[in-house]
Each structure stands twice: as C-alpha cells, then as structure tokens.
C-alpha cells in the first residue's frame, strides 16, 4: 500500500497460558489503511493474538507498538485513553443485551464525550446507516438476526471514529450471502475512512475478497506473511495445505496427537 510508518508493529511476542506457550515469537507490522488478515486454523492462537493487540491480555514477553508507542507497557489509564483510537468487533458481536441497539452504539459517546443527547442521537443514526441498519434503533440485540448483530457491532466499534479497527471472525456462523455482505462492509469501511483494519479469520473465501496482506499462523508461529499471490506461491507445506483445503494426513496427525499426549518426540 503506502510506504509510510507502520501503524502496528509486533516484536517477538510470546504469550502463554500458564506453562503452555500459545504464541511463540510473533513478528509483523501493519501499514496504515491496509486490511491485514490474520489467518489460521482452530487453535493456532489467532484469537489470542487479537486479544493481545487490543490489550485484553498481557504477553509474557515482546512488544506491541501502536503508532510507535509501546502499548503493552502502558498503565491501564493510558491504555484506556489510547483505546479511543481503536474499535473492535467481537465474534459474537458482544452487544450489551439489556439495552437497545441505538444505546449500544451511543454508549461510548455518552461515556467519553460531553456531546448533547440530540447530537449523540444523530451520530448514532449516522453510524447505523453506515452499516446498513437504519430503522432498528429501538430493537434489543436479541431481536436482530446474526448478520444484523454483527453489523451493529461494527457500528458500535465505529462510534468513536477510530483509526484502527479489529474484527474477530467476522463471517463466522453466517450464511454465505450475509458473510459476503459483511466482507463488503469491511472493504467499504476501509475505503471510506482509510481505516487500518486487522481481521482474524479462517475463511478463505473472505480472505480472497478483503485481504491486502495476509499473515498465516500455525502452531503459535508465523508461517508466512505477504499478499495472497505471494502466499499462494509459498512452498510452506502448511500454507499450501490450508489454501488447498486438504485434510491432515491421518497417520501423521495421529502420531502428532500421541506425541502431544505423552510428551515424547
């Protein structure tokens, strides 16, 4: 994309749950205005990586620099301030179930700004319209369909006009048509606001539509980073297998499973 300074730089990130190392020495950088996809199978650590990027988890070692500032070393107050530049869409949308869709979108505005209620009202409408959800303001999240909930989640993430947006499995659990609509929304958001977007997914179909660059995670390490064409020409066996949608070789998979149980190589 552009040859500017990267927005997010991850350096030697190591994350563990207790003694189990989940991410082992992750390095990558995200450039401004690009859609950076973190791709990986189940258990590859991609959701853990995302939780570290937004500060919901602390890494064991390594650094995450956002706009050149060390995000991992910030105090919780500094982090709260810094988070206003970031928006996040959760896998299950994570809208607050007890308040209406409009109140959900308005929540960060009410908490962080001193805007008048009428202004907040207008801004909420604009954000909902942006994601193609006008007319559902007064519904409760439980009254919406899965796709609509995800769109409302995007609207809420956009409420504070962030510069970076994170999506956790945006198309998980949606039918192909709704999923494609969401891919298009991610593209539109990026194109309209020049949003730096980080998308965690395992869906090859949406990767082909949205990705500027892709980072493939495998067993807690980066298997490859690059544009889709670059990765398609990669000779890394896991990347080839993932892109070709080939199942694991049963015999080696069973052997690996036995190893993981016994701890003997």
């Amino acid at each position: 994309m552009a040859s500017e300074e990267p927005v997010i730089v991850v350096e030697d990130l190591v994350v563990s749950y207790g003694d189990k190392v989940v991410l082992d020495g992750i390095n990558f950088s995200v450039m401004p205005g690009e859609i950076f996809v973190i791709l990986g199978g189940s258990g590859s650590g991609k959701t853990t990586l995302l939780r570290n990027l937004v500060g919901l988890m602390q890494p064991r070692s390594g650094k995450i620099l956002i706009y050149g500032e060390n995000f991992t070393a910030m105090s919780s107050q500094e982090r709260t301030q810094f988070r206003r530049k970031m928006g996040m869409c959760f896998q299950g949308s994570a809208l607050l179930g007890s308040i209406s869709v409009a109140d959900n979108v308005a929540l960060p505005l009410r908490e962080h700004t001193k805007l008048e209620e009428s202004t907040i009202d207008i801004m909420t409408r604009i954000k909902l319209e942006l994601v193609g959800l006008s007319g559902v303001e007064d519904y409760l999240p439980s009254e919406l369909s899965g796709g609509m909930r995800k769109r409302a989640g995007v609207a809420r993430a956009m409420a504070m006009d962030p510069e970076i947006i994170f999506y956790d499995e945006p198309s998980a659990g949606l039918d192909p048509i709704v999923a494609a609509g969401l891919d298009k929304l991610i593209r539109t958001m990026q194109a309209t606001f020049n949003l730096t977007s980080v998308v965690v997914t395992h869906e090859m179909e949406s990767v082909r539509i949205i990705a500027d660059r892709v980072c493939v995670l495998h067993q807690g390490r980066v298997a490859g980073i690059g544009t889709l064409e670059e990765l398609e020409n990669s000779d890394h066996p896991y990347i080839q297998q993932f892109f070709a949608r080939r199942p694991d070789d049963q015999s080696t998979a069973a052997a690996a499973y036995a190893e993981s149980l016994t701890g003997i190589d």
Binding site: L56, R83, M86, A94, L96, G97, L107, E111, H112
Partner: protein
C-alpha cells in the same frame, strides 16, 4: 506425603490468589463508588435506582410474606413454653427483640441473596461468556464502574430498607397471632413490645443488614467474573454464589452478634 504437601500448597496459593482478586474488586468498587464521582468521572445513578427497585421493591412481597409467617411462628412457639407460667404477655418481648436483632435482618438477607445475588452472578457471568465484559473494556468503559458500582450502592441501601419493613411486619405477625390465637390482650401486647425494644436492638439489626448487603453484592459480582466457558459455567457459579453468600451472611451475623453482645 510429598503429593499431600504439594496439594496443600497449591490449594493455599489458589486461596491467596482468590483473596487477592476479591481485594482488588473491593478496592475498585470503592474507587468507582466514592473517589471517581468526586473527581467528576460520573456515576451511573439511573442504573443504581433501577437496581434498587429490582433488589428492594421487588423483593418486598416475598420478604414481607415470609417475615409475617415467621412472626406468627415465633409467637406460637414462644407461647408453647410461656403459657405454662401464664406469661403469654412476654411473647411480645421475645418476638420484638428477636425480630429486630436477628430474624428480620437474617431472613431478608437470605431471601435477597437467593433472589438477587444469584441474578447478579448469572447476569455478569452471561455477559462475560458473550464477551460483553471484554467489549466494555475495549470501549474504554471500566466493567467495575459500569456493572459493579451501581449494583453495590443499590444493594447496600436496598437490604437495610427492606429489613426495616420486615422488622415491622414480623412484629405485626406476632401481634396478630398472640391477640387472635393465643388470646393476649392487644393493649398489653403493644405495651410490652414498646417496653422491650431499645435503640440498640434496632441499631444492631440495621448495621448487620448493611453488611449483609455488602456480602451479597460482592459474592455475586465476584462469582460472576469467575465464570469460564459457556452456560455450564454460569450455572455452576450461580449455585456457588448463593451457597457462598448464605454461608458468609451467617458468618457476618455471628461476628456482629458477638461484637454487640460484648459492647
């Protein structure tokens, strides 16, 4: 032997970690309830009032009914012994003192723990499972400020308020039973009641009930944040929450009873 030491050690470490988490929660609650509003960071008054209605006003019918029945029961039980000496008028003393010092606060707290403590755990637990707690944090909204502080204020005011009414209702139950079943004269009963109660009885009951409210709220919230892994986790922690808060209510009751006994 080594395994035993290992187990005890691990258990102790877990308990210390839990105690630490509880203390952090307590300090955080106080900060968001007292310090932050003074610094102009706001408090969610509306949410607190809504919670007060839920914990207090909506608990009234069931608390009232149960305390009325308990009043009737104590009066009858007391009469069983007292009438042997023709001392039925002392039912009034017994009902009044036990209602104020012990039974109204305790019954109220236990009912509210079952009704609302469990609801607090289930609500926060479900929000945690649905990543709503994470969402609050990512939006820069402190979950303690948003979820805990308003509930805490509501609970520590609702429990004493309901308790005060419960005391009255329990004494009324005792009066009704004594006058119409046992056959004590109404004026005598009322006189005895007024003579039996001192300020300290009321104070004991009210101080206790404030701390019962503290216990119910903190146990409920703590258990809610402990929820891991789906609906099953919510169920498990909700049960644990009710059991723990009833147990702790009794412990707090004992501590204060001992304290007031010697004071």
């Amino acid at each position: 032997m080594v395994a035993l030491f290992g187990r005890v050690g691990r258990w102790a470490l877990e308990q210390i970690a839990a105690a630490l988490r509880v203390s952090v929660l307590m300090v955080d609650t106080m900060v968001w309830l007292v310090v932050a509003p003074l610094k102009g960071k706001g408090f969610r008054w509306r949410s607190s009032v809504e919670r007060f209605v839920e914990f207090g006003v909506r608990s009234l019918p069931i608390v009232g009914l149960i305390c009325f029945l308990v009043g009737v029961i104590i009066a009858l039980q007391a009469s069983y012994t007292l009438q042997k000496w023709g001392a039925n008028r002392y039912i009034a003393d017994l009902v009044a003192v036990s209602a104020l010092r012990e039974l109204a606060p305790l019954m109220t707290a236990i009912i509210i723990a079952g009704r609302c403590g469990s609801a607090i755990t289930a609500e926060i637990g479900t929000m945690k499972v649905n990543e709503e707690v994470d969402a609050l944090e990512v939006m820069g909204l402190n979950p303690v400020k948003y979820l805990v502080a308003p509930q805490f204020l509501a609970m520590v005011t609702a429990v004493p308020s309901v308790t005060a009414l419960a005391m009255f209702i329990m004494i009324f139950g005792g009066w009704l039973c004594s006058v119409f079943v046992v056959g004590v004269e109404s004026a005598i009963y009322i006189n005895q009641t007024v003579g039996a109660i001192v300020e300290k009885d009321l104070l004991t009951g009210m101080v206790k009930s404030v701390f019962f409210g503290v216990v119910i709220c903190w146990v409920g919230v703590y258990r809610g944040f402990q929820v891991e892994g789906g609906a099953e986790g919510v169920g498990r922690e909700t049960t644990a929450s009710v059991v723990a808060s009833i147990f702790l209510i009794i412990v707090v009751d004992l501590v204060f009873t001992v304290l007031f006994y010697f004071l």
